[in-house]
Symmetry: C2
Subunit: 124 residues, 2 copies
């Protein structure tokens, strides 16, 4: 099952990058739920979710840097490259019957750290 | 190996929440590397990392909401509760010889979404 989940999520990003929307849609559960907890945004259903990806502006590519799959769950960390800019995206996947059922996205942005008590913290 | 990684990461958060620093330290590789890409912060070595946790201000608890482990890798999504406030933390773990070798933390903050082309995006 872990192997299937890994293959499914790998194909999710490959078909999205290829703009192969029929192949992308075939990976998705009809009742797919997409959520962004940071913005409280939500997209419901396969067609709406394909449209969400297909209408994303700019010349973007998602490069998968980390993929961890276990049972019906997986997470990817992607470098999302759009018009020369790079963002980090973290997506949690829940799969069901060989299709993607839930996607929860996080987009962590750079920020200035607060003062630290620990003296061992360095900056890269 | 996935089972060992899952047990190790579960124990990581349990001993941290219990402030059992000797037990916490025993889970860590001497050359542990901790990174926060958002702030470019880095902590190197077991002792420094234990100090980083032990000196964290406030009465905090990490509640593990998601844990996905595969081979020597794992990710946790935690609700980090500190003095009545809740933050989401996402930690990627790389393990080696039964110890935690690398931890990469992300702290995604709420933000206002940009305008969307897709008309199917709702707000929760």
């Amino acid at each position: 099952m872990t192997t299937d989940t890994r293959a499914l999520v790998t194909r999710f990003w490959a078909t999205a990058n290829a703009r192969d929307w029929p192949a992308f849609a075939a990976l998705l559960h009809p009742e797919l739920l997409y959520r962004v907890p940071q913005t409280r945004e939500r997209v419901r259903g396969r067609e709406a979710f394909v449209d969400f990806f297909a209408t994303w502006p700019g010349d973007w590519t998602a490069q998968v840097r980390t993929l961890i799959a276990e049972g019906s769950q997986a997470v990817t960390e992607i470098e999302f490259l759009v018009d020369g800019q790079a963002m980090t995206g973290i997506s949690f996947f829940e799969c069901e019957a060989g299709q993607v059922r839930t996607v929860i996205d996080h987009w962590p942005e750079p920020y200035e750290p607060p003062p630290r008590v620990c003296v061992h913290v360095e900056r890269e």
